[in-house]
């Protein structure tokens, strides 16, 4: 009995809302148990006790916890995360400006990861124990072990030394006089505005941070792809096709690749957590101005509203990514669709 893919997706969505609720409760409690008074932080050491007390009351911090949470959840559902203490603007507005930058960076990294890692995995498996394999495994091992900030800083230093005109900070050349468009993705906005100079500059700016961010994933996915390819090469169905003279390249790039991509795609979903974590660091190094650097700023200043929104959005990223991964796997593997029935 085939389960309709939609049913599976709707089930996932239901679970997804539950996870979000749980996440918001955790963030809410965490934000209230950590030491330090946000009102005092906001007003600075010079403010009087009375002023701090007044701000606390304004922020609703004297209410019972449950009603504080309900209030918070109600507002959050309506897209209101309160005011940021640091920027003195609504958190939602800050997020709207910073999230697209991060999404752009992360998506570019994911594309990088698959574009580099899958072919590398296939190659290393095809040329097992030859120099291509040894080199590929060395690269992937390096990718897995070297921390991404080290890669990022090294890339910056190398670029600055050998190619001084290459941009190593920010998302766009300041001289271009371009202030974003409807999507917030520089590449897409550039295309929409018919500004090819913007697109070129944005792409230049994107390459180094995206590469630095993807390096760990490249290592991981290469290894998984290689292992899956090797495992599947030994299967009888490869022999079936070989015995009937189907060319090797078709067997490898069509039959084996699709079957062997299930494992790396699954890993991708998990890899996403570290991707978001690494994005915090990479954005700082490259002055990316994304939501991760915004979050880091918020954490350092104990900007509670901003912190909880950032954590919630990170969780959302992770969940959505895994939802997509699940859907992709369901489409790749017919056996997944048969589960539940007999």
């Amino acid at each position: 009995m085939q389960q309709h893919p939609m049913v599976a997706i709707l089930r996932r969505l239901g679970a997804f809302i539950l996870v979000l609720v749980a996440l918001s409760v955790m963030i809410f409690i965490l934000a209230r148990v950590v030491p330090g008074d946000p009102a005092r932080m906001a007003l600075g050491p010079a403010a009087s006790q009375a002023q701090v007390a007044q701000l606390r009351a304004e922020m609703g911090m004297n209410d019972p916890l449950l009603s504080q949470y309900l209030h918070y959840a109600w507002n959050a559902v309506h897209g209101d995360f309160g005011m940021s203490l640091v920027s003195q603007r609504p958190v939602t507005q800050d997020l709207a400006e910073t999230v697209p930058a991060t999404v752009e960076l992360v998506l570019a990294s994911v594309i990088f990861m698959f574009a580099v890692a899958i072919p590398l995995g296939v190659l290393t498996a095809q040329y097992r124990d030859r120099w291509v394999d040894v080199l590929g495994r060395l690269i992937s091992l390096t990718g897995v072990t070297i921390p991404s900030f080290l890669v990022a800083i090294s890339l910056q230093l190398l670029a600055a030394r050998f190619w001084p005109s290459w941009p190593i900070l920010g998302r766009l050349d300041h001289g271009l006089n371009f202030h974003g468009g409807p999507t917030g993705f520089m590449l897409i906005d550039g295309v929409l505005a018919w500004r090819w100079d913007v697109v070129a500059s944005a792409a230049q700016h994107l390459i180094l941070p995206a590469f630095a961010l993807s390096i760990a994933g490249i290592g991981q996915i290469t290894r998984i792809t290689r292992a899956a390819m090797l495992e599947n090469q030994r299967k009888d169905h490869v022999l079936t096709l070989k015995s009937f003279g189907v060319p090797e390249r078709v067997i490898v790039f069509r039959y084996l690749l699709k079957l062997s991509s299930i494992a790396p795609v699954t890993i991708m979903g998990l890899e996403f957590a570290s991707l978001i974590g690494n994005a915090f660091v990479i954005e700082m190094i490259f002055s990316w101005g994304g939501f991760a650097s915004y979050g880091l700023e918020a954490i350092l200043h104990k900007d509670l509203n901003a912190v909880s929104a950032v954590v919630l959005v990170s969780g959302l990223f992770f969940i959505v990514a895994n939802l997509i991964v699940d859907v992709v796997i369901t489409l790749l593997d017919p056996r997944q669709r048969q589960k539940g029935g007999r």
Binding site: V250, L332, R335
Partner: protein, 548 residues
């Protein structure tokens, strides 16, 4: 012989692994004439599959052909340019693979496999055909292998078809380009006997109608009688004897061939085992067991209202094909699985800390941990019983003596042992905790016939020495006839026939039992004649169709 379709002459093949070279084929010579059916038989390691791979050209990298010639219609294939050799695949000769569930890539449609095979074979032959034309040709071939709904088969994923249907598709795959020679590598071995029987009939029919030659590679002598005119017997890379099928099976010239034939449990005539069976008091009783898996919409009743009594000292056999629920019943009887309704009563209580029953699994290759020595495997149940140090050592040595293995084998790893030796270790492990009942789950299915016999003999001796009760699960009815004192036959979760083994075989009542017995490949014409009659209507009613 110049008119031979396939001629193999003085073929020598050796394998090099870890720097050690081993010769696996020594001067193998035989021929297959056009339209002739030849069987290549032998046990594990005899070199029969290597011979087939050398002909097809799919030898693994570790293998080297060190001498000899393979001629197809007079043309030497071993020294052909690779492109020309590739062009022979699927057209001059074709391979029927056996289907251990994995002959098709699970994430591609059956139709995709078929279309790719056809497309590239077409391209090699310079045939141009559109996708729709190919689809029609494929559908026609699928109808040829009696698949009633080719469209549905093509639009299915491999996991959506039954084993019998997949085997039919594999045969279809081999027929796509009307080859002159079919090479069949143990087709149907992984399937139930009834399905295997249908597959053999189909291959026979196709070979006859299309005038193809057949090279059948098998270890099953019953299959040989059914599908071969001539037989080539192989043993350890040598050809032992070649000759007409009836002559070989009826009056083998070589001792090895005779030993092979004698090891096949006879379906009629005197039983191999004449051990006296004492039927004592009931030891385990199962009352109206029902087991349901899954919930709501996906609910599936694996076992329905099964009542059984296992008596002390008997050898009880539960027969049935895959999916009939026999393993589920065995698990419930031993308390490994709790029934949905019904109950199991034990009439004997084991000593404290000791199990009443232990199980011996089908495949010792997977039931023994490859990273542990025999001693380590045996020590697990002994440790659980609290046996320490010297006591444990002594007990291990006793166990090895029980299963007739030298004590020195305690230090060996499973990969250093043969299949039969591994199964002996598995039996020793099951006996370690001194159970009263041994559950034998297809204990010989993974073994060669000659080894099968030695394991069965060992089990019989152990029963006598230790006073054990056996509960055997199997689909091999001819083995059960020679081994079990009482059998029950299961069909779709229910017991359809039960009785003393000689009675059941002398006069099987239920049509399913008759169909099962009739499907067993036997090695003599006399046995074939004595088989019970089954009408097509009865067959259709009791067997799962593999054609739709």
């Amino acid at each position: 012989m110049t008119d031979a379709l396939l001629q193999v002459e003085g073929l020598n093949v050796s394998f090099t692994t870890y720097g050690r070279t081993r010769q696996v084929l020594r001067d193998v010579s035989f021929s297959v004439a056009a339209g002739e059916r030849v069987a290549l038989i032998g046990e594990t390691g005899s070199g029969k599959s290597v011979t087939a791979k050398a002909i097809i050209g799919t030898l693994p990298n570790a293998a080297t052909i060190t001498g000899g010639a393979i001629r197809l219609e007079g043309r030497e294939v071993l020294h052909m340019p690779p492109g020309e050799r590739e062009a022979l695949k699927g057209t001059a000769f074709s391979l029927i693979m056996q289907d251990p569930l994995s002959s098709f890539n699970p994430v591609f449609l059956i139709g995709t496999h078929l279309d790719d095979v056809m497309r590239f074979a077409d391209r090699r032959r310079g045939v141009r055909a559109s996708r729709a034309e190919r689809r029609d040709r494929i559908a026609a071939v699928l109808r040829r292998v009696q698949l009633a709904d080719p469209e549905r088969v093509m639009n299915s994923y491999p996991s959506e078809l039954s084993g019998g249907m997949r085997q039919r598709v594999l045969i279809g795959l081999a027929l796509l380009h009307q080859p002159k020679l079919l090479i069949a590598d143990e087709p149907g071995t992984a399937l139930d006997v009834t399905t295997q029987d249908e597959i053999m009939n189909l291959i026979n029919q196709l070979v006859r109608e299309e005038g193809m030659a057949l090279l059948m590679i098998t270890h099953n002598l019953g299959v040989v009688r059914k599908v071969a005119d001539r037989v080539v017997v192989m043993h350890h890379g040598d050809i032992v004897e070649t000759g007409d099928c009836h002559r070989i099976l009826g009056a083998p010239a070589q001792d090895y061939t005779r030993a092979l034939i004698d090891a096949v449990p006879p379906l009629y005539g005197p039983r191999v085992t004449t051990q006296a069976l004492t039927e004592g008091a009931p030891i385990v009783e199962a009352g109206a067991l029902t087991k349901t898996f899954g919930r709501r919409r996906s609910e599936f009743t694996a076992v329905r209202e099964v009542s059984l009594t296992l008596r002390k000292g008997e050898i009880f056999g539960l027969a049935g094909e895959s999916g009939s629920g026999k393993t589920t019943v065995a698990r419930m009887m031993m308390g490994l699985l709790s029934p949905t309704t019904g109950q199991v009563t034990f009439h004997e209580t084991p000593a404290k800390g000791r199990p009443l029953a232990q199980i011996v699994y089908q495949n010792p290759g997977t039931s023994l941990n490859p990273k542990r020595t025999v001693a380590q495997s045996l020590s697990v149940p002994l440790k659980a019983l609290g046996k320490k140090g010297a006591v444990r050592q002594v007990r291990m040595q006793e166990l090895m003596a029980l299963v007739r293995l030298p004590v020195s084998y305690l230090g060996k790893y499973p990969h250093e042992l043969s299949g039969g030796q591994k199964q002996r270790v598995a039996i020793a492990r099951a006996l370690a905790a001194e159970p009263k009942i041994l559950i034998l789950d297809e204990p010989t299915a993974a073994l060669d016939v000659s080894v099968q016999k030695t394991v069965i003999d060992l089990l019989l001796q152990l029963r006598e020495e230790l006073g054990l009760t056996y509960f055997m699960i199997s689909h091999d009815l001819s083995l059960m006839r020679n081994f079990c004192s009482r059998i029950a036959v299961m069909l779709r979760g229910e017991i359809v026939e039960e009785g003393a083994t000689p009675d059941v075989f002398a006069a099987p009542e239920h049509p399913y039992t008759r169909a099962l017995i009739a499907a067993i490949p036997v090695i003599s014409d006399d046995e074939e004649r004595m088989k019970p009659a089954v009408t097509d209507e009865e067959r259709a009613r009791t067997l799962v169709a593999t054609t739709v």
